[in-house]
Amino acid sequence: MRWNSLWILLVLAASVPAVEAQRTYSSLGRAATPEEIRGATPIVGPSGEGLPAGRGTAQEGSGLYAGKCQLCHGPSGEGIRRLGPRLVGGEMHPFATTIWNMINGSMPRNLPHWGRREGTLTANEVYALTAFILYKQEIIQETDVIDAQSLPRVRMPVRDPRMDSWAPQ
């Protein structure tokens, strides 16, 4: 019995990943927990990795835009000087995920202290607003569904082909 217990202990010990052994300064810093990694602010790249569950269309985004965005960006996204830049008809991003990042990370602003994000948009609402802007830019249809799968596949009209490998085709 004793040998069996010892054998079990040895097997268990050998199966624990030697995480700290490969580090040089292992007493400083510790392994991040899955919660900490999940809780990190999403910064989504052209691949779309990290996009949350949810969906939205331009139709759904239209009312949201009027209520939360128009006062700084204008009724048609033309921008209002000193308040909000032009969203429609101006410079374009090579990737639609950039628009999602911008809205999710920093919009809308908490007026009158506009330096602060309100933090009130749901995942669906962020997709809907992203869809709305893409629709106004005449890249998608008003009823196209934008979600974690379709957003990175939106083909922006200005893109150097050398960047194509970053996004799913």
Binding site: V19, Q22, R23, T24, Y25, L28, G29, R30, A31, A32, T33, E36, I37, A40, T41, I43, V44, G45, P46, S47, C72, G79, R81, R82, L83, G84, P85, R86, G90, E91, M92, H93, P94, F95, T97, T98, N101, M102, G105, S106, H113, W114, G115, R116, R117, P157, V158, R159, D160, P161, R162, M163, W166
Partner: protein, 447 residues
């Protein structure tokens, strides 16, 4: 001449005639008659320790600007290190600063790594560290739209400073985490109110990138990213994320808000023309070009009178070391080498000095920097030196426009000329060249 018990009593000479005498008091000339009483100098008599050094009331150095952006009064400074409380800042979030408790702040390293890690500020401070002088510069610094109308050096070029930074090389942290094969980028995230982020090429991350917690010997100031920020020597300020709380290793850049201007550039063909040039050009666009400015005499200042007037200024480059600074005092017709009398550090403001005798006539003076890459500063009007041709540009196919002109000098490192008038006043002599429309349209953009 004697000190009080605490050694803090301060005696000042009351007049030049008392030079050499430490006591403020009356001087009896040899004849024994009393001289006219010298003007009394006010004394500052402390009650105890003076915990923080205080500037004389005669020194009025401050930053200027707004909550969103403050400039360094470069024209009034000496040497090449910016006093910590005069370091410029740009804060796109209306100037709002997160007031982090360093005991609770955490830096998360994750993504394409073997071992995702979390560090406290204390732990970062105990990791192997280096200290280096590095400049920071905002991408809007020297914006020709501002240069056209502004008067002083600070107004045009004040969004750059140079501090001595202490921190952990990012490469050391990434090695602790174990970067996986195929990872080419590090996405840096901020704890600020808009979750600003930027993408750093792995080559930079593994070389000179620094996770800094101190500037000029002490903790970062609030405006400059307390308690931890990223310093990328030679790179534009917007990529050097403040209040750094996340590093995600990835195989692509995130192309987030400020990021999108970093990796793409705007051709003169018109709005919407995004180009990604060669890898080398892309790396170049991330970094500041060779630049220099004359700090004295500069716009708004006054040369007192004819005679010897040493021209002095600062030079720097994202290309590393300043190799050479030349000065012209005849409007750019002829150039002569200036001296670099102090230590020259890579990616740091470098002081240059040029002996000059002002003859009382109008003169246009300017400086020109050459860096170790061979990049030479040019005038804004020298278009042919500011634009190159990238024959591999895919832009023409995508947009159907002639996008053959690719910005080679995408930033604002233009030569800054100053005109010295015959009355000794100094004026901005900047002449505009062709410039793409401003990409940002940000509400707080001041040009």
């Amino acid at each position: 001449m004697q000190s009080s018990k605490s050694g803090r009593r301060r005696f000042l000479k009351s007049s030049a005639a008392l030079a050499g005498l430490a006591a403020a008091g009356r001087v009896l000339p040899a004849s024994g008659q009393q001289a006219a009483p010298p003007a009394e100098t006010p004394l500052i008599i402390p009650n105890g320790v003076r915990p923080l050094g205080e500037r004389s009331r005669f020194e009025k150095l401050v930053r200027s600007g707004s909550a969103t952006s403050a400039t360094t009064p470069l024209q009034d400074l000496h040497g090449s290190i910016t006093p910590t409380d005069l370091h410029f800042y740009v804060n796109h979030e209306g100037g709002i600063i997160p007031d982090f408790d360093p005991a609770r702040f955490r830096l998360l390293i994750h993504g394409m790594v073997e071992r995702p890690l979390v560090f406290t500020v204390d732990e970062l401070k105990r990791m192997p560290a280096i200290t280096r002088p590095y400049f920071l510069e905002c991408g809007s610094n020297g914006n020709p739209n501002r240069a056209k109308t502004a008067k002083t050096l600070e107004e045009i070029h004040g969004r750059t400073s140079c501090a001595e930074w202490t921190g952990v090389p990012l490469a050391v942290l990434l090695k602790e985490a174990g970067v996986k094969d195929g990872a080419g980028w590090v996405i840096a995230g901020s704890g600020d109110t808009s979750r600003h982020s930027s993408s750093v090429p792995m080559e930079k991350a593994m070389s000179t990138a620094l996770v800094a917690y101190a500037m000029n010997g002490e903790a970062l100031r609030l405006e400059n990213g307390y308690p931890v920020r990223l310093v990328l020597p030679g790179y534009y300020g917007r990529i050097t994320v403040k209040w750094l709380n996340q590093l995600r290793v990835d195989d692509q850049p995130s192309m987030s808000t400020q990021d999108r201007h970093v990796h793409v550039d705007h051709s003169p063909a018109g709005e919407g023309a995004f180009l990604m040039t060669t890898d080398e050009a892309r790396a170049m666009q991330l970094s500041v070009y060779a630049k220099s400015v004359i700090t004295f005499p500069s716009g708004g200042q006054q040369i007192g009178k004819q005679g010897y007037c040493e021209i002095s200024g600062l030079a720097w480059s994202g290309g590393g070391v300043v190799k050479r600074v030349e000065v012209s005092t005849d409007g750019g017709k002829t150039w002569e080498d200036a001296k670099l009398p102090d230590a020259v550090h890579p990616y740091a403001h470098t002081r240059f000095r040029f002996p000059w005798t002002w003859n009382g006539e109008e003169a246009v003076i300017m400086s020109r920097c050459t860096d170790e890459r061979g990049d030479v500063q040019a005038l804004a009007s020298e278009v042919e030196k500011n634009w190159g041709v990238d024959s591999s540009a895919g832009c023409t196919e995508v947009l159907g426009e002639d996008c053959s002109l690719v910005p080679r000098r995408a930033n604002r490192a233009y030569i800054q000329p100053w005109r010295v008038a015959s009355d000794g006043t100094v004026h901005n002599a900047f002449v505009m060249g062709p410039e793409p429309t401003d990409l940002h349209g940000h509400p707080e953009a001041e040009g």
